[in-house]
Point group: C2
């Protein structure tokens, strides 16, 4: 359903155990970045009515999640702060082809893969963390991230031949799995 | 209340009469740009909790207005399309000082002045257009734009000494009035 080409390595859950607070702070940043990505896609394809409607929904939901994570940090006395970003987003954006309509297809598919990986990791967190409130929180976010993934893939298919778009999704998912396999020393939601 | 240093010239209402459809299409773009501006400010000052809360509210409201304008265009059979932008936003953004915290102050004040001018023009449109539904629509948007103006000015005051920020607001409002007085041949919400 999520079109990912790998499962997260155990190494990531070790990072979670060693630096949960840093991962939670990164999660807040991820929600804001997901909203900003949807807003930016809307600006680039403003005359695509369905895309604008879906991006508006995603902006609203991601900003709502952002504030939910901020509340959760506040309740736990964890200061929300800037953090050096990991490499994941930048590496994925580097795969976007420069010319339209390939650019639109790739931006949408990359956004969809990020949602898919978040979704997979939320599910891992829900099963892994001892803290029941936190586990429930991650379980509650799973459904919307999976839906966003599906939305992005469906919209990408409107910018080109569907079978070519689905092939491109597989290729990008292979690249995404390689980036995930490399990992990153900073503990992040996508490290 | 709106801190503007001029009233819109009669010339603008002549542009409205001559090219109402083009102005309505521009209005949709303005609502999207207002949402994108709030999202961008949030990204730049992500650790400012109150700013993030207010920007989220503005993003939600401006995107709601964007879709309201799109619906209105659809009902009237006016195609929503890309249009070359006017000069107003670019000229105002050119006044933003490059270094923090002046940059934050200026970005917030410029956003606030754009809301103020929109507000003034919505009020003019509500009184001017013959079409009752359109007049009501513009009257209904007035309150939120005025509130956004107040929010931006209040937030700007948190980035510096209040009296200096209010002086800067007056200076920027004088510059804004000059840009409005020059006008622009393309019929736009801020021409």
């Amino acid at each position: 359903m999520l079109n990912l080409q790998s499962k997260s390595p155990k190494r990531w859950l070790e990072q979670v155990d060693a630096a949960l607070e840093e991962i939670l702070v990164d999660h807040a940043h991820c929600e804001h970045k997901a909203a900003a990505t949807a807003m930016s896609l809307m600006g680039s394809y403003i005359d695509h009515t369905e895309l604008c409607r879906e991006m508006t929904r995603i902006v609203d939901e991601e900003l709502e999640h952002f504030h939910m994570v901020l509340d959760l940090l506040r309740q736990r006395g964890i200061p929300f702060r800037r953090q050096p970003p990991g490499r994941y987003g930048r590496r994925l954006r580097g795969l976007v082809r420069p010319h339209e309509p390939q650019r639109a297809i790739d931006r949408l598919l990359v956004a969809g893969l990020i949602e898919a990986r978040s979704c997979e990791r939320f599910s891992l967190l829900a099963d892994h963390v001892q803290d029941r409130e936190l586990a429930e929180f991650y379980r509650s976010l799973f459904e919307s991230e999976a839906r966003h993934h599906t939305t992005y893939v469906r919209l990408a298919c409107q910018f080109g031949d569907e079978s070519a778009v689905r092939q491109r999704l597989r290729d990008l998912a292979v690249a995404e799995a390689e980036i995930i396999a490399e990992g990153h020393p900073l503990p992040r939601m996508h490290s």
